[in-house]
Amino acid sequence: MTNLIIGLGVVLILVILYLIFRVSSLVGLARTRPVTTEARVDSSNKVNAALFLGFTIVSLVAFFWYSFAYFEDYNLPVASVHGAWTDTLFWITMAVTVAAFSIISVVMALFVFNYQHKEGRKAKFYPDNHYLELAWTIIPAIVLAILIFTGLRAWNDITSPASADAEVIEVIGQQFAWTARYPGNRDNTLGSYNYKLIDAVNEFGLDLSDKNSFDDFKSLELHIPKDKEVLIKIRAKDVLHSMYIPHFRVKMDAVPGMPTQFKFVANKTTEEMRDELNNPTFNYELACAEVCGQAHFSMKMIVVVEEPEAYEKWKQGQEAWLKQNPDYLKKVPAALQDAAMIKAGMQRDPGVAVAGN
């Protein structure tokens, strides 16, 4: 019943609108001067010209007002070394483009308003001017060349190979979660993996015939040290994902079958950021930025930035994956069983144990 009433109401409104339209167009017809007169525009021309000018002024004022008044709301704090650099580039580009945008907008609005149709005036026949055209080809080209140059320097630096002593961590994307794998406390090297070895427990597809894999451990939070270069090795198990850590200005796709990587230096610990933002519950978050399925929007991982000492301490407290899943010991080649137990921290006294066997 309500639907019916709403429906009837809508129909009624449409009918009224139509009637208004008919009446006004008939009245307009009655008032129209004969078609032969010289007038080529009616009074609407003035209104439209004024509206353009008004719109430009109002919208530019609104743009500048919002941009300054709400700067804190949309400006995301930055917590990485290269992020500060790209942010600077961003704001330089912003200054250049907003200047160009404002000038062109205002000039266009003024032209539109100023040169609206006037009876008896003739437009200026002005088909071209090569100097003008040359000028506004060359000037943007120079400005862009500067932007390109600065951008290239930053890009090359960000994508250059990581240093040898960088902290290497693996981040794996899957529908719909992130996990991290650390190279372990003994060998500090990530063990090899093979996607065919993945099962419900061995979610990394750890290849247990590789001795570097014995001490690797898993984490559902990404812990990283402050002020130390971190190299994230990124892979995906099923479909494309994209590792996106907004505060670090870090983004890199996770591609099945093609490992990718991103290196960066975080320069504010989680605690420091909490103080800076006055938000005791603040956490860095890692999100997925490449559509990956129905729960794409929920792929979150907490990122914890710690002082290097705290980070090392946290690492020492983690158990090797193999220790958590002792069943998988039988997948380790017989000759490496003992080494595996030692590296995974499953035997307290390595020297004695080896001798006993």
């Binding site: 650099w85 040169y115 002005y126 055209e133 899957q174 597809g205 099923d238 494309l240 907004p246």
Partner: protein, 628 residues
Amino acid sequence: MATTDIHVHHGVPHHDDHEHEHEHHEGNFFTTYIFSEDHKVIGKQFLITGIFWALIGGLFSILFRLQLGFPDANLEWLRPLLGGWISDQGKLDPQFYLALVTMHGTIMVFFVLTAGLSGTFANFLIPLQIGARDMASGFMNMLSYWFFFLSSVVMFTSLFLETGPASGGWTIYPPLSALPQAMSGSGLGMTLWLVSMALFIVSTLLGGINYIATIINLRTHGMSFTRLPLTIWAIFFTAIVGLLSFPVLFAAVLLLIFDRSFGTSFYLSDIYIAGEALAHSGGSPVLFQHLFWFLGHPEVYIVILPALGITSEIIATNSRKPIFGYKAMIGSLLFIAILSFVVWAHHMFVTGMNPFLGSIFMLLTLIIAVPSAVKIFNYVTTLWKGNIRFTPGMLFSIGMVSYFLTGGITGIFLGNSAIDIQLHDTYFVVAHFHLVMGSAAFFGMLAGIYHWFPKMFGRMMNAKLGYVHFWITFIGVYMVFFPLHYIGIAGFPRRYYTWTNFDTFSGFFDLNMLVSTAAIITFSAQFIFLFNFFYSMFRGPKASSNPWNSNTLEWTTPRLPQHGNWPGAIPSVYRWPYDYSKPGAKDDFIPQTIPFSETPESNLPHENDLIRLETTGTQGAIVVEKKD
């Protein structure tokens, strides 16, 4: 028939070869309106189909904007429309949300702004503006529409599948789009998407070949390339770009079909999904992205170039001035068209592609800003010292320039690979391309409809309704897309059903609500246009044959050009199309069909020299000196 030669010069035997043909083309309803080979009817068919798709694409955006702007709202009232896609709690299904996003993109980019825009105006304008009876091949032209129609039917069908239409984003990146286990939309919905796109590509190629052939071969006497209106230049480049790039999408689609159905591994490798390791090995998802964007980037120029052409023509006409820098405008179109092929990988800076490639593509991408800037400056200079009439077409053209500026300028951020690391796949990108190519191309299309409606249907659209439509839409579009820049700078990622899982993305409820409200108002305002369009088609005041006092050739046809376009001879062309407000001229426009010999008062020195050529021409309607 064809006894009234409206051209000033009678009795010239040339160009009459079609005259006897077209009188036999009076067909029945089916051959006239359905399986028509007449370019004007085909253009209108593309237009109507495009409008239909635009409504669906727009409606989809409203549905997902409801979710984004009012995440707590109960959408139970949409159940009659969406059925099971509304959950028991009255929420939009997250998977269907992605389907809506995907179909919105697909529909708008391909079905509305490629077929609806190019299809309409290329078909309608090419023969009329170059002075031809019809397209080079009317039959191929008809096929082009019907392949598009078939493609539309397939895509439309996919909307009603139980598993939903394709939902992996309009870019359909595999493996998500290749594996039905990854999401239900990658099942039959994706298959239909691929079939539909294959048909669509066939349609585009048939059309494109025809446009190119027609423009090169069927120009009337005197219509040299340097006398072509900019619309034709833009359509010409668009068709070439489409012809070179769409086959690449076809290849990409075909290989994806193989991967999906025949177990090949072009794009798939090392995948463990749904508890099982797949046998696919050695493929590369990034390969697909290269292939896709090799079309995908030229595609955005396929969308925008016709709009640039249309607005150049309309702005010149209504400023009553020649377009400033005609040759520079052609040059920049050409330059943009060429560069469009070598910038594709700027969509892929952070896909794991070699960073060195990133440097190259950044360089090439930012170069494209130069010809784009030239176009903006030339538009603005065309307005300078004009005598501007704000017809609805003119309003939409100025709006298009405004969007092209606002949206284009943010491309400088995104083309910079270092800055793009953060902005990639955020709402900043959404704001950028919706303004620079989505809204700008839409406005180009609307401008074209308002401007050429009198020639299409012989009647005028209501200007007042046009003004109302323009102002609501113009302001509305800015209200929708401008705030998205802020949301993007704040880092909000695209294609998120909700942001509440993240503290980082927890703000901007107000801005998102504003955007959604503006979107609903803007969408509703389009019904003003629809009413105006269909009402005026039948009841609008009858148009004169040249209501805008325009120079181009189509306005020399009768009010309702019949098959063959001109009764009698096709007029010859003697001058470029932009002789507006020429000093000394009687009126503020001189149509292309007026020889220089008739306008000694306004000729420039070098044009006086051309009079001799007119008189000694061996072909065409030249009657200044009778020789026999």
